[in-house]
């Protein structure tokens, strides 16, 4: 069911990345203006999200985390409803109860989002168990950061997934930062993939800023999980080019490291490659970016027009 990587029009991937970037930039601007709450943006990590999500089939279930805009938009979430959620409005996917940090969209198979770093790892095996025991075809994709990989739940989750043959594709977005701590200050090894292998789980690292490379690696990894019904860990090696949470002056960031990654911006990389290959010209690229900006402007207007939930709905949906 999943199209092979070469069947996906790379311009589609570029469009998705542009949409994500425009979305995040709207939030950054809105939060600077005091109109939108701050969020954890995925700027710089668009390729890692888009490459993976495009490797999935509609049956697959996704667990994401606090830095989820890329995953959600690549999966087809409506940016208006996302922004409404970020702004705590009634039309948000979670009725404004989540805000930006824990957005789930069940109808898109994005389930059980928790902002407790590491919780995605603890929830994923159960979701995979349901898929397996209820005879559903989809695999489970669990996005996690390099920080989440430092929580004990990483160990418990990978051990159980290996032991119980659970069809989980763990995708570790190693963006070099765990909030205000560099991964070097937090991890005894460079790569999360190294840890994964010690459970007998196949694991690999891919350039997370190259959307085609991510798509190819994720397609292969997902196919392996689908066929083996066993876990796999794909590490996307990327960088968080904005701060942890808007606003963030990034005073603690080594500018040389950041600059090197900014020079490898995933969107520029993809666009330049398409232009070089002749699949896109400069005007076309500009048009795509403009379309994304328009789309987000409309979404923002939708979100701003959405009312806040009524205060007497304070205790809705606590108990089933």
């Amino acid at each position: 069911m999943t199209p092979a990587p070469h069947e996906i029009d790379p311009r589609h991937l570029l469009e998705q990345m542009l949409l994500i970037r425009a979305y995040e930039e709207a939030i950054v601007a809105g939060s600077a203006a005091g109109k939108v709450p701050g969020t954890c943006t995925s700027v710089g990590q668009e390729a890692a999200a888009v490459g993976v999500v495009n490797a999935l089939s509609g049956d697959d279930l996704i667990l994401t985390n606090h830095r989820s805009a890329g995953h959600l938009l690549a999966r087809g979430a409506n940016p208006g409803r996302l922004l409404a959620e970020v702004m705590g409005r009634r039309d948000g996917y979670c009725g404004g109860r989540s805000g930006s940090l824990h957005i789930s969209v069940k109808e898109l198979g994005v389930v059980l989002t928790s902002t407790i770093v590491g919780a995605e790892l603890s929830l994923a095996p159960g979701v995979a168990l349901s898929q397996t025991m209820l005879g559903k075809p989809g695999i489970v994709v669990c996005f996690l950061g390099d920080g989440a990989a430092c929580e004990g739940s990483f160990h418990e989750s990978l051990n159980l997934a290996a032991l119980w043959n659970l069809p989980i594709l763990y995708v570790c977005e190693n963006n070099h930062w765990q909030a205000f701590v560099h991964r070097r200050e937090a991890m005894s090894r460079e790569h999360v993939a190294t840890w994964a292998q010690s459970y007998g789980i196949p694991a690999s690292t891919v350039d997370g800023n190259d959307v085609s490379a991510v798509l190819t690696a994720a397609t292969a990894a997902a196919a392996q999980v689908r066929a083996s019904r066993r876990p796999y860990l794909l590490e996307t090696w990327t960088y968080r080019t904005r701060g942890h949470f808007e606003p963030d002056d990034q005073g603690y960031v080594d500018p040389a490291e950041r600059d090197a990654w900014l020079a490898r911006d995933p969107i520029a990389l993809c666009r330049d490659r398409l232009v070089a290959a002749g699949s896109l010209d400069a005007a076309g690229a500009t048009a795509l970016a403009a379309r994304a900006a328009d789309h987000i402007a409309g979404a923002l207007a939708f979100a701003e027009a959405s009312p806040y939930p009524a205060p007497d709905a304070l205790t809705d949906n606590v108990y089933a």
Binding site: L61, G92, Y93, C94, G95, G96, R97, S98, H102, S104, V105, K106, V111, L112, T113, S114, I116, G118, A119, L121, S122, L123, A124, P125, G126, V127, A128, L129, S130, Q131, M133, L134, G152, S153, E156, S157, N159, L160, L163, W164, D316, N317, V318, Y319, A320
Partner: protein, 322 residues
């Protein structure tokens, strides 16, 4: 009615509910070893041993419950819940609300608690109040095998996460248990003895202390009403208030630390909603603000006993008389 222990009543409820609903499954550290009959009837996929890792046991249960299964997990002793707090409190208790109602979490967590085996404070620590304080969770703690069976069946059928505490001291005490479809709805207290002079409210093993105290009190001409809460959340406020409205006197008894315990909640409830009917101060008898010692006599001394309950209740009744 067959007599069985509370442990076996739990087993009976599991068997019946696993027959009743194929989505029910059971897992935990050693549960497939200890309840091997379940493995034989339902197979190794629905009854599983797990690694020694409470966090992932609970997390897996939450993930499974949120996507279509109805897991029952055995986390052994209540203090081990400390390793599963994120999964139980932040995930099971909150993800329904935070997702705007997209998911529900039909999930039962079993844990043993309380004095009886001299195993010390890291196996014996009554933490049920933590979960009453945490939103989105239900909490039950039966005092006898029949309720254990009936409450567990209700808990498994409930669409919310339920913390199910088993009192160690009661685990192997036999009691009569109705066969078949015996369900005790969550949120209903049981009035085990009626009386008009003083209300004794309790749950778990101290219910038996209250019943014994009521006997003693009866001999002194004091009619004590004994209420077994059974569910700690939802709490049967109506049953408590109805009784205290009649008796005007309240003694709340439990083994857990009195500070911010269930007894505090009930005392506060009554002081808010039945104040005008109160004839005497409320009395709480609870564990001290201390871990429980392994040493047997200290472990026993930790638990409010019938004599102390009777004395407290009698004192309340005299106070009014004078």
């Amino acid at each position: 009615m067959p007599a069985m222990t509370l442990y076996d009543a739990i087993g009976a409820a599991l068997v019946e509910e696993m027959r009743h609903d194929p989505r029910v499954l059971v897992f935990g550290e050693g549960v497939a070893t200890k309840r091997h009959d379940l493995v034989q009837e339902f197979g190794a996929l629905r009854v599983r041993n797990t690694p020694l890792a409470e966090g992932i046991i609970a997390g897996t249960a939450v993930g499974a419950a949120g996507t279509g299964l109805r897991p029952v997990i055995d986390l052994l002793f209540a203090p081990f819940l400390c390793y599963a707090m994120d999964e139980l409190v932040n995930s099971a208790g909150k993800l329904r609300f935070m997702s705007g109602g997209q998911f529900s979490f039909p999930l039962v967590t079993l844990a043993m608690t309380g004095a009886g085996w001299g195993v010390g404070a890291q196996h014996n620590h009554n933490v049920e109040a933590w979960f009453v304080h945490s939103p989105g969770l239900k909490v039950v703690m039966p005092s006898n095998p029949a309720d254990a069976k009936g409450l567990l069946k209700a808990a498994i059928r409930d669409d919310n996460p339920v913390l199910f505490f088993l009192d160690i001291g009661l685990l192997y005490q036999p009691g009569e248990v109705p066969a078949g479809e015996h369900i005790v709805p969550l949120g209903q207290a049981a009035v085990l003895r009626e009386g008009n002079d003083v209300t004794l409210v309790s749950y778990g093993k101290t219910v038996h202390g209250c019943l014994a105290a009521a006997e003693t009190l009866a001999a002194q001409g004091i009619a004590a009403e004994v209420i077994d809460l059974r569910s700690l959340k939802p709490l049967d406020e109506a049953a408590i208030l109805a009784s205290v409205t009649r008796t005007g006197r309240l003694v709340v008894v439990h083994e857990a630390n009195r500070l911010c315990g269930i007894g505090a909640e009930i005392a506060a409830l009554v002081a808010e909603k039945a104040f005008a009917r109160l004839k005497a101060p409320i009395v709480r008898l609870g564990g001290p603000d201390a871990p429980v010692a392994a040493s047997y006599p200290l472990e026993q001394a930790f638990v409010p006993q019938a004599a102390a309950i009777a004395t407290a209740a009698a004192t309340l009744c005299q106070r009014q008389a004078t």
